[in-house]
Structure formats: C-alpha cells, structure tokens
Symmetry: C2
Subunit: 349 residues, 2 copies
C-alpha cells in the first residue's frame, strides 16, 4: 500500500482528472464497444441500434442528507439522475438496475419508501427495473443505479462534435436546485444549532422541488425529434453550466462565447439567491443538479430552436483559440471556470 511513500490526497486531482488518471490506460477490445469512458454514457453496438449505458453512485453524507431528504424523493432522484445521462445521448431509457446498501438504522418500511420513489420514476419515464442488489451497510445508505437506453445509430449525440458557429442551447432554467440546497442547509443548521424546529421555507416551493424532486428532460428529446433536430453535441447539466460547457468545448476542441443575460434563471431562483447574497448567475454557472440539457445545433437551425419555448439560446461555439468566455451584463468578457460541485472534494452537502 506504499505506506512509506508520500501519498497523494484524492482531492488534489478532482473527480474528472482522477477518473482519467485511473482509467486512461484501459484499452478497448471489443467491436461492440463504440464509446467507453468520457461521455454521459458508454455506447454499445447492438446491431440495428446503439445501447447507451450509464451508472451513478449516490452516497449518504455526500450526495444527500437524510435529515431533509424524504426517502421516496431520494429513490425518485436516483433514477432521474441516470435517465438524464441517457437523454443527454439523445437516447430513450428503457431499463434500470438499482443496488442499495442499507445501514442498520433503516427498516423495511424505509426501503419501501425508496422503492415507491423508484417505481414512480419508472412509471413516469416508462422504464423497466430489471435488476439490482440489496445488501446491508455498516455505515450509511448508498444507492447505485445503472440505466440503459436505446437510440438509432444515426441519432446518437456525443459531447465532441460541436462545430464553430453552432448555437449553444439550454433547456429550462438553471441554479434552482442549488438554491434549494442552500435553503435546506440553512434550515438544517438552524434546527441543529439553535433548536428551531419549524423550518421557514418562505414561498420557495420551486427551488425546493428542483432540489428534492428533479425531473429529467425527456420532453426536450421528444421536441427535438419532432423538430427533426439532432444536436451536434449534448451533455446533461449535473455539475453546473460552466463545468458542462468546458466538457463540450474541450472534447470538441472548440471555444465558446456565452452571454450572461441569456442564461435562463427562474424569478424564484433569483429572489432566493439575492436573499443568500449569491449572484443568481453564479448559482446557474456553478450550482449542480439541475438535470437540464446543454446542447449545440447548427446556426442554420436558429429559427426552429428559437421558436421552442422550453429552450434558450445562450451563445455560440467559437474557434478553440478564442477560449471559453462569458460576456457579462456590463459588456466585460471573462473566462468560464469550472467551479461546479466536486464529488471528490472534502466539502459535503
């Protein structure tokens, strides 16, 4: 275990560099493996179609706090987070597996609630639960979900095919899930430190719902299909807009120009951010768990995309030497920097 050498803390690399470091030297051996690590999902060749496979691990104390997370919502969200990755490949999820490690503090009735949430998500998104594993845990609750989606071969969308002048589009609005988390954390601290038992969530029902019971953008995939638009690149926004923009630009070897004033933010998110002295755009750029879709389309499709109310055009793709830039409302231009939530850092929520 190299105990005599100086050891490298995990946080020194960050999640993405760590994965690259650990898995970069794994070769691909099979012709059925079209795409391995490095996108929202792996792509496998299943004859007529591609299958996409994605997996996520949700860990108590890191990804959720049972103090304010209803178990049914947790089960629901665990499925949503994975379906979102499938949609980001322009694929339709059909199957999920769910593995759960449960600590001794949980009872059968608690698991029933988690599974009620899983069932609700499976119903709403039309997916089959086809497998899993259930085990005890000496410590906290862990949920591992794998989702499998299907897509016609000519319709699969990667992160690495954005072209210069492509429009950068985003679904829905951003930053709400992050503000919901701030709100829940504030009330938890008040409860724990000052014994205030009745949480005060004001009129922030939207941001709370976005944090506790997010949805995946199945509708956007259907709208794009209907409009006969195949994005050139796509990714789901789970770590914040900045982080996802950089993934698309890095993998496509391009730059981008994004306008602050175009970034969609709900009125309630803005109000809540102001109350917390957080700039609303900061919440949108760096807050995670929005599960919206970020994608690029050719400039020629401007009129079609601009007419879709669920989609905002926030900027465009540039040459790689232009860098990844944000035009502030003041007119000033700044570099886009990934400060998205890092699952390998020591901060937890």
């Amino acid at each position: 275990m190299h105990q005599s050498k100086k050891l490298t803390p995990l946080s020194s690399l960050g999640e993405f560099k760590l994965i690259e470091h650990l898995t970069g030297n794994f070769p691909i051996r099979h012709v059925t493996t079209i795409k391995g690590i490095g996108d929202d999902a792996a792509i496998l060749d299943a004859g007529d179609k591609y299958i996409v496979v994605t997996t996520d691990l949700l860990v108590e104390g890191i990804h959720f706090n049972l103090v304010y997370t209803p178990l049914k919502h947790l089960g629901y969200k665990a499925i949503i987070a994975n379906l979102s990755d499938v949609y980001a490949m322009n694929a339709i999820p059909q199957q999920v597996t769910v593995s759960i490690a449960v600590s001794a503090k949980l009872y059968v009735e608690h698991l029933e609630e988690i599974y009620a949430g899983i069932k609700l998500a499976c119903e709403k998104y039309n997916v089959d639960l086809v497998g899993g594993d259930t085990t005890s845990s000496m410590t906290g609750l862990t949920i591992s979900v794998t989702a499998i989606g299907w897509v016609n071969k000519n319709k699969v969308v990667l992160r690495n095919q954005a072209h210069e002048n492509d429009l950068i589009c985003v679904s829905g609005d951003l930053g709400a899930a992050y503000m919901g988390l701030q709100l829940l954390e504030r009330e938890r601290r008040l409860f724990e430190n000052e014994g205030i038992k009745q949480p005060d969530f004001g009129s922030y029902s939207y941001v709370l719902e976005r944090q506790l019971k997010p949805e995946a953008r199945k509708d956007i995939i259907e709208i794009l299909e209907k409009a006969q638009i195949i994005p050139t690149a796509m990714i789901d926004i789970s770590d914040g807009l900045s982080s996802e923009l950089l993934h698309i630009c890095k993998q496509s070897q391009k730059g981008c120009l994004v306008y602050q004033q175009k970034v969609p933010i709900a009125a309630e998110t803005e109000k809540c951010a102001n109350e917390f002295n957080i700039h609303p755009v900061t919440a949108a750029l760096n807050g995670g768990e929005d599960y919206e879709l970020l994608f690029t389309v050719p400039l020629s499709q401007y009129e079609i995309v601009a007419a879709i109310p669920q989609i905002s055009i926030i900027g465009y793709i540039t040459e790689s030497n232009k860098g990844c830039r944000l035009v502030l409302d003041s007119g000033e231009e700044v570099d886009i920097v990934a400060q998205g939530w890092n699952a390998m850092s020591n901060e937890t929520h």
Copy 2:
C-alpha cells in the same frame, strides 16, 4: 417515515425475500426486456443477440475487510463476482462499469491498486471498462460493478428450465473460499486481540487464494460450447451450493437428489475444515463466494459430461413433490436448507 408504526427489521425478511417484496410489483413495459429481476442477470433483446446485465455492490465491513484484503485483489474480485453471473447465463462478458465511493482514509495510490486489480481482471477475461463513477464517501469503501454479456438467443440459460432426471453438475470444487475466510478471520482476531503480528496460514495457500483472488469459470462455458452442451438451467455459486440448488429447483418447480459423497471438495479445504471443526460438506453447502457454476443437463448427455474432468455430477433433478434432498454418506436422506451467507443479516465478515 411511519415512525409511529412498528417497524420491520431488514433481517426478518432475508435478502431474497426482501428483493421480492420491494420489486415484486414492478411491471415490465418494454419488448426489449426479456427477463427482469430473478436470475443471475437481466436479459435484453438486442436484435440478433441477447444482452445480459448484472450488477453487484461490495461494501466495506460487509463483503470485505481491508485489514486482510489487498486492494488489488479487491478490485480483481469485484470484477470476477460480476463476470461469474454473466457466465451463469451462458453468455460472454464484454463490458463492465465500475463505480467507487472512497473514504478519506484512502489516497490516489490506493485507488491505483484497486484499478490495477480491475485491469488485470479485464485483461484476463477480455472485457472493456466502459464507464463508472468515482465519489468520496463519509464512511467506508463501496464498489459497484455492472457487467454486460452477449449470447446467441438460442444459447441463453436461465434458472427455471431444469427438467426431471436432468443431471446436476458443478464445476471445480466447493467450500474453499469459505475456509479461506475462516482462516483470515482467525488471524485477524489473533492480531487484534492478542497482538500476534505474524499471521500463521500454515500451508493453506489454496483456500486463501480462493477467498482473496477467485476466478470466474470462463473455461467451463468454453468447454460446454465445444462439447455442444447447452445446460437446461445454470446459476453461479456465490451463496453456497444449498442456496443455489434451491433457486434452480424453486424456479424450475422441481425437486432434487444430491449425494454428499459426490460434492467436490479439495483436500486442502477438507484439512482446513477439520482443523476448524467444521464439517467439510457444511463449508461446501453453506459457504459462499466459490464462483463455481451449478447447472443441469439432460441425462442423455451423461457420457459427455462425465468425461469432462473440471465437472462433477452430484445428483439429479426430481419431481417437485420429492423435495430437495441430500443423501448423506451414511445413507440417510435430509432436506437441503439454505443457510448460505445472508447479506442482510447482522453478521459480517
């Protein structure tokens, strides 16, 4: 969370009943889902072939103890356990995903060792690592693996098609992994309680290797293919022979008669069991993690199977009303009872 109601402990149901209880009411919606929960792996229809998907969760303190588990071996074993489930469907694994939650006590160098073991297994079994997730953990180490295998549609093998008079076959030998665990646990206790620093493993290298670095029976699938044998039912032995026999019999709605003297046990396993005052057959019947294959073939194939040195014929399938019975060396017949290791019980190893 029903805090006012009386709550049901997880251990009151056991792993298999719990999964049935939680997932029994999930419908199957897609024609691509050929088989959901209830076998070694799910089966999906990928046009010309079937894809099988299986997933397992390994939790520190439940499935492994880092005191005596080298991290490289742990990575290797996590892959093997899943490949074994793929082979049990008569399928060939081609892809795996690996998710890991790591506690703060681990460093990059430790993860490198886990991934070195994963890489070794991927090389030896010719599979591609195609995805995963890496996150921190507030508590212990958790590894979640999903394996994907491919099989011609007419060759997939379930648990539920064993017929009366079919021969019951098992690969390799049984009980060794369990005895390896007893040995490691004994030395751990001596180390922790009596400060004895140098473990005494005698000459038990085989049972230790079976526990720490098991293999999956890829060779058996190849041998059966060559011999043009398609088993009528198959399962991998991860929870002990008794438990797996009961799965095949229950799902095939049959009984079985198994002969104690035919159960293959290595000389070293027997010697080690005797030292621990455990009946060797008890280790074979109820000890887990052997990762051998248990399968049934038509009586007409007796001569072919009997000629394969890696396979033992241990009994045959009977009518369901005959029950599941073991013929002891004394000639006495007893019921086969599942006392396999239960991941939902409070005992840990």
